[in-house]
Symmetry: C2
Subunit: 411 residues, 2 copies
């Protein structure tokens, strides 16, 4: 089976938004083992929507439309699909009741045009909208499947996961279960090399590598008739991969490095303080994005100037003079200084040259030192990163968090 | 004239990337006054690329392809357009030389398959690639225009702006010139209300409001036969808008709030230090994203715990006990404390409840206090923000930068 995604909405063609729904749906379909061969985007124009449906129905088995389900005159998706398939539109009473309830719960009056959102082509399977007023629908006609979804991603994504995936699994006759392994500190080609034989012999589960944002992920996807069976298929492959990659596997599925570090601190009852120079607050910002970070994160010092390194962190004038602000010695004194002055169990520091200015012959842009001071002594690390200022900052931040993770695993 | 954008690349259909090129090009075309009626995306598959070209050539005047210009076997765009139009492929010598120079400057050896990137359909107008190895091309045939662009946005966007816009302006017979006014502190509907008469009577320049990321922009676009004339058309409208919106207009075109604040500090010869609580380093991170921030930004303290507010910023135990960490009193002491302990001319502080936890009946999630201490005294502001933790952090950061901007304008 193959699929085509038709995005409906003039805001796409004006460039006001990117078609992220097509990306989300394509990725989900690939997990389901269904090939997507075409994306199309068309405005809120009946003639062109009909043309898009005609072309899609001639070349694709599954046609997914997104957008155009709202209450206004502009919203034409359902009506046009019904016209294209020669189906009558009827009121779907449970949907009408849901929409009325939704308005009541918001303390707002439902206007007449909202009734439109409860009108569907006859014979449609209705997809409830748990996050808005416009339900979706599935229609089967002439061996083609039409899936009609709302435009806002916050409505489309949960609707697809909760209602459309089980439907498609029912059609393809098998259940799909995925587990993502998140890997940091080894590049994509090295990861592929390390699991090459598994990649070559993959069948069920399949193994899909993906690189992005400085990390590599491996998605293991099993097809089975129950979740239990799928998990049993995934487990030995996952264990084999983890045996080979060791603690470069830092998390699973939606895990983020900052959550892992905070969880380790909580589990071990340790408090952290940070001294950042070249990252300029990036690491503190990542950690404090996580609700409850304040339980274990005491404070951070963004010591950009030499004076602040001395006054806040007790870095010595001699060290700065003899080795410079970007040096292993300074990183060590910064980590030990933030630990001492904050009273935290763990002090972590980073100093480097984010560029584009500030480099010397000995110290190029991208040279970074980081240190971690704890009850059992201090570790220091040197890295050489490439890219522009932002990439060096974010790459450095991820490396510091990863160093903290590895350090905490040993405590 | 109307246009269609064909994205070529299997990574689009696998959902590995969103089709942001279609968004960028659609927005640019709308500025040029050219309607985009269709987006299509298709994989690296010759049969389907040919089908996409056939369909597009039947319904669109301008067909823009993106992607598929690389050196590998997968990259099929130019060859397939040439086949579709019945044109011969020939080596373009200046492009071959540029590619050779590019490899030489990178200290790498050019492999044989890179020659492919210098081969073009006969009669093509070649578009130099100033940011990579794959040039683009324009072809005119049977009163249709085919524009072939590379996939990476960092190559496509400058190529489009530098070479394609002047070409299209030549075809449409007029020059387009835009100026964006960036507005902070007034909502979209209030801005529209304040310039309603100008919006209703717009013709040349046109005025397009757009809201996003907590700010509002107004894009003034003039059509004229010279840049000078366009500027003269824009100037009186811009002046009228600025008269009405006052210093809510914080910048122009690609300006960012953090750059404006840093420039003001530099121009006035002032140094800044920050004390952040609820924003957790977000503001420091924004400022240090700008090269050269270190000239005026001395340091930041992310004082998450009460202890750190006392030890780093000299906030008094009495203030914390009587008014709480989230209070105007604490914000004032934080700003004055960071100013004193850092030696900066300006100390700025922020404390608030980013949520989802930490709220009380008196202090809801989103309550934020910020203060600015300088040579002429201390100002304090209270805000109530809505949204999730990230939105509250980023909204607070923008407000603090805007307060700093307004404070510095008065110095």
């Amino acid at each position: 089976m193959n699929a085509e995604i038709i995005g409906i909405g003039s805001e796409l063609l004006l460039g006001q938004i990117a078609n992220t729904n097509a990306q989300f749906l394509s990725r989900q379909m690939s997990y389901l083992g269904i090939d997507v061969y075409w994306h199309t985007a068309v405005g809120d124009n009946k003639t062109r929507i009909l043309e898009a449906l005609r072309i899609a129905s001639e070349r694709s088995d599954i046609i997914i439309t997104t957008g155009g389900l709202g209450p206004t005159m502009d919203d034409l998706s359902k009506e046009t699909v019904a016209e294209f398939l020669g189906l009558e539109m009827v009121i779907h009473t449970p949907s009408l009741k849901s929409i009325e309830d939704y308005f009541r719960s918001m303390g707002r009056v439902m206007t007449e045009n909202n009734v439109k959102q409860a009108v569907f082509p006859k014979e449609a399977i209705i997809l409830p909208n748990d996050n808005g007023t416009a339900p979706g629908a599935i229609l089967e006609k002439d061996r083609k499947i039409y899936i009609i979804l709302p435009g806002p991603p916050a409505e489309l994504e949960p609707m697809f996961c909760k209602y459309v995936i089980p439907y498609l699994e029912g059609r393809t006759g098998c259940r799909i279960y995925s587990k993502v392994l998140r890997i940091f500190g080894i590049g994509e080609s090295a990861v592929e090399e390390m699991v090459k034989d598994l990649l070559l012999n993959q069948s069920n589960p399949t193994i899909a590598p993906l690189a992005g944002s400085g990390e590599v992920t491996l998605r293991l996807t099993a097809k089975a008739d129950s979740e239990q069976t799928a998990l049993e298929l995934i487990r030995p492959v996952q264990e084999e991969i983890e045996k080979r990659l060791g603690n470069a596997v830092y998390g699973y599925d939606d895990d983020r490095m900052e959550n892992i570090v905070l969880d380790l601190l909580k589990n071990k009852g340790l408090h952290l303080a940070l001294a950042e120079s070249c990252t300029g607050g990036y690491v503190s910002n990542l950690l404090t994005n996580v609700p409850g970070a304040s339980e274990v994160f005491l404070e951070g010092c963004v010591t950009y100037s030499n004076n602040s390194k001395k006054s806040r962190l007790m870095v010595s004038q001699e060290t700065l003079k003899n080795y410079g602000a970007v040096s292993a010695h300074t990183a060590i004194e910064m980590a030990e200084g933030i630990r001492k002055t904050s009273g935290a169990d763990i002090g972590a520091s980073v100093t480097g040259i984010a560029g584009p200015g500030g480099a010397t012959a000995q110290k190029p842009v991208g040279l970074v030192y980081m240190a971690i001071a704890g009850p059992n002594g201090t570790k220091v690390m040197e890295y050489r990163l490439t890219g522009n200022r932002q990439r060096i900052k974010s790459g450095t931040a991820m490396r510091l968090l990863n160093c903290l993770r590895l350090y905490l695993l040993e405590q």
